[in-house]
Point group: C2
Chain length 558, copies 2
């Protein structure tokens, strides 16, 4: 991380307000805008720029169709403009996003407005509506038809919303033709590993296209299955990075556009920040923590509960939860059966002690016997009963103590259906559902190393990391009895799921036919279970859920 | 139902092949096309028209992105064209839908092709891509850019795919300008109550626009949460209906375009059919039956299991299941607790006897005691334990006998969260999830009346219909303790959910503030449970699921 001085006299001082909003919380989001404007006013900012759909939160999905919501959002923007004026903050130009209405078709718009002098001033509607991956904006919004260039203190300032800068044409080429001094973009760009540099390269390209600096303000925070990592920035007209806000935290950054239109050439010092990109393991881990933390806060949970098996998945989830809400707000439940090894119980107890969480042991023998006296199950059905008894117990903690139940499944399991629906799959949130098993191990090692570096207790027992994975639902069971080795499995999964490689492609990738056949069959058959799995944070380029919409009824077999 | 004679000599004889395809089953779908072409050839049909995306099934969702799937579909179309020629069927023009590839962008297309003379001939790509409600086609496909008019036996035949005729512009206005003798549309138009007449009025409008008859072939069958009801038809240039295939069954209809371009004026007799629209109760009931039946067949289930409480919901689901797969393939499990009334057990047994299903009684007392000895739960947590023990038992039947577990919740319950997740909500399919409670009663009465009319045993015990609904999870519990009266509740739900009415609107609708507040709060808080609920058939204009995509994390409260 590097800090350096700029100066701002005679120049336009811009504040980048990277905030964490909540979908639907019009009052809370407006209050946060006011709060950040106050801070920015203390630095005499001329403009304060907030993320996409600031007032409504993002994404609002079909809530956009409720006319009373759009009216309430619009009334809130009006009120906020008046409140900002009354607060006597030197009347900065405050750029916020909200939902608008296309009056001709009575359809929602993704809108950017400028609050100034007590009024809601200048509206720009998002032109390119992303409708791929996790995005459904073409479903919801009517696209904007025209570009908007503001004149603020004699500078020509172009406006764009998120996807608008991912396309060369439309408003960007229009502004390039007309000439601007600065391009301001507000964004709700969800996290995936390594995306930061993609955004900055893209903005650099657009800066060269419009021949002006580009300000990119991104939201931060978790919203259901999305995590927004922030990482707002400014690039110069030549694409050089001038300011870079940190990831995963709210932040108010500053940058000055000089009187001459060149940045960094003004008189008053402005301390700008150049945050480093986080390393891959850290950014993914922190995305999982923030996703869980915000799901809890925004849905009014103060604690969580989960089953602790002694294995690596529940250990990593517990560590993430401890970082999200503190060990004292976690109930970890060990639920041994006759097949649980002594080692597993010791590992679970060790983890609980390291994290300082509430640790309770509920053996499931008597429930198992009660079911079996009636049902006399064998094989997989008998295995599933154990997992489902545990599910009932976890949900009993959730119901009786108002705790968020956490599902501990990883992406490899979810892909292959290697879990018991209504058993270990129960929960309101699944913090590691987008992590392949090999990644789970990597993040566990990283988290321990991080603790060691800071002189703290390593949260995860080494034994949970190094022992061979097992569901322990029958005597001597190992994951490797049913699944290919995870190192191989995860490579096939990545190609099949994230790259949509079919059988021919997978063979061309060099995987052997037997593994390919096994993995494709397992993945295809487990779609119905994935559909009922809890939400969890997307951290890869293609997560299960709305990012990958495959039919359950699907007879295609390659 | 009415039949009348047309004649076809010198005219163009068209067969409307309303078939039930399966997503991904390229071989099975092609075999069905061949089969129907054979039948049509025996009548010397000149053209055989199949539904939208015949070869791939519909909708294929993100399966469209797998390049190996698109190549396999394309190879299958080639093979089918050759097979049709080799079969020596008089070489009709066979119109089928499939997935194509936009080579420039390597993106899928929703394509219509004509198989003729051993070749895949003439491609038309869907122009308007629906991306609302349950549809995500803009996500998946590149739109077509040009209209296609074929010359077949001297007649100018225009092509369109489904949504293309819902819009006045695009290919339709182009064809109207150029002049055509016949418009052929292939469709995958999902059922919702009363939609048949909407389609026919629309087609009549387009017929008048293009000044030619319109042939509308719709697919039939269930695909995950959608049911396609068929009801294919032909309207004349003046909009009059000339042929109407029945709903919910595969059907091969015929119609002749005379040499003069006027229909019904040719020499050879063609027996045309004018099926009546089904009454509302019957079409909704049959949609539920077909949805379940096809889910079973296409996912290789031969039987189902469900909990029988003696209440109306499980009774209606059992009746639907019996109509889908026969009573002998149903396992109905009565799982009484200390709170279950004698009457409920009698009603469950009576239902089982009427439907001839496997009836088993598994009292849950010992499991309940085993959990309570450990957990000592009270209130809602205690109630939920009972529902979850039942969920474990239902899933044990599913696992040990390879049965599809059915969830029995209705739309009112699902809306208000009046169910236990992982309890009564377990299952692979939920046949009545889009029926409000008042509709459940109506359909139960209708089904009994229908049986009576045909001299059969009424499937549903009258007592299950008339008694006050109760979850029987505590002493003397009634649904009315927690929820407004269903007659009122269902009206509020319909306005809030299907019409997206907000609080102001609901008050203007005449509902009292207390009820409005209660219902909105219940619905908003239950979103996370709905997300994990099984699939079930959409029968209304707005079903829960992909039809209504609301965030779980949503602080908007009116």
């Amino acid at each position: 991380m590097e800090e350096r001085d700029q100066s701002s006299d005679g120049s336009l001082l811009v504040a980048l307000a990277q905030i964490d909003t909540c979908v639907g919380d019009l009052d809370g989001n407006a209050a946060k805008v006011m709060d950040y404007c106050r801070k920015a006013a203390s630095r005499k900012a001329d403009m304060v720029i907030f993320p996409e759909m600031t007032l409504t939160g993002y994404p609002i999905e079909d809530l956009a169709f409720r006319a009373t919501f759009r009216r309430a959002a619009w009334a809130r923007a009006d009120q906020l403009a008046r409140d900002l004026k009354d607060a006597d903050l030197g009347d900065p130009y405050v750029v916020v996003g909200t939902v608008g209405t296309d009056r001709e078709h009575d359809r929602p718009r993704n809108r950017m407005v400028v609050l100034h002098d007590g009024l809601v001033w200048a509206g720009y509607d998002k032109h390119f509506l992303p409708n791929y991956g996790v995005f459904d904006e073409y479903r919801i919004f009517t696209p904007g038809e025209k570009s908007v260039i503001l004149d603020i203190k004699g500078r020509r300032i172009g406006l764009a919303i998120c996807e608008d800068i991912w396309q060369e044409g439309g408003p960007i080429s229009d502004m390039a033709a007309k000439g601007i001094d600065l391009l301001v973009t507000i964004n709700g760009s969800p996290f995936e590993e390594g995306k930061g540099h993609v955004r900055r390269e893209l903005a650099a390209k657009r800066a060269r296209q419009v021949k002006a600096p580009v300000i990119y303000v991104n939201q931060v925070g978790g919203q259901d299955d999305l995590v927004f990592d922030g990482g707002s920035f400014v690039v110069d007209a030549d694409g050089a990075i001038l300011e870079h806000s940190p990831q995963f935290v709210e932040h108010l950054g500053y940058w000055a556009l000089s009187a001459s239109g060149e940045s960094g050439a003004s008189a008053q010092p402005v301390r700008s920040l150049l945050a480093d990109d986080l390393p891959g393991d850290e950014e993914v881990y922190r995305a999982c923590v923030l996703g869980l933390k915000d799901y809890m806060v925004k849905n009014h949970f103060t604690g969580v509960c989960l089953g602790l098996s002694g294995g690596i998945d529940s250990a990593l989830v517990a560590a993430i939860a401890a970082d999200a809400c503190g060990g004292s707000n976690i109930w970890g439940i060990s639920m041994p059966s006759r097949y649980s090894s002594e080692g597993s119980r010791d590992d679970a107890a060790d983890l609980a002690q390291r994290l300082g969480l509430h640790y309770e042991v509920k053996a499931i023998g008597s429930e198992f016997d009660a079911f079996q006296d009636e049902l006399h199950l064998e094989g997989v059905a008998e295995e599933n009963i154990q997992a489902r008894i545990r599910g009932v117990i976890v949900m009993a903690y959730s119901n009786s103590k108002d705790l968020l139940a956490l599902a501990t499944g990883n992406k490899s399991e979810l892909a292959c259906g290697y879990s018991t629906i209504y058993g270990d799959a129960v929960g309101g949130y699944a913090p590691i559902k987008d992590l392949l098993k090999t990644r789970v191990w990597e993040l566990a090692r990283w988290r321990n190393q991080e603790a060691k570096l800071h002189g703290q207790v390593e949260p995860i027992p080494v034994n949970s990391i190094v022992k061979p994975p097992s569901a322990e639902l029958r005597e001597g069971q190992k994951d490797s009895d049913s699944l290919p080795d995870y190192a191989l499995l995860d490579q096939v999964l990545e190609a099949y799921i994230e790259k949509a490689h079919g059988r021919e492609d997978l063979l061309a990738d060099g995987f052997d036919p037997e593994t390919v056949n096994t993995v494709m069959r397992l993945v295809d058959r487990a779609e119905w279970k994935r559909r009922q799995y809890p939400l969890g944070p997307k951290v890869t380029s293609l997560a299960f859920g709305r990012d990958r919409r495959l039919p359950i009824t699907n007879a295609f077999r390659e």
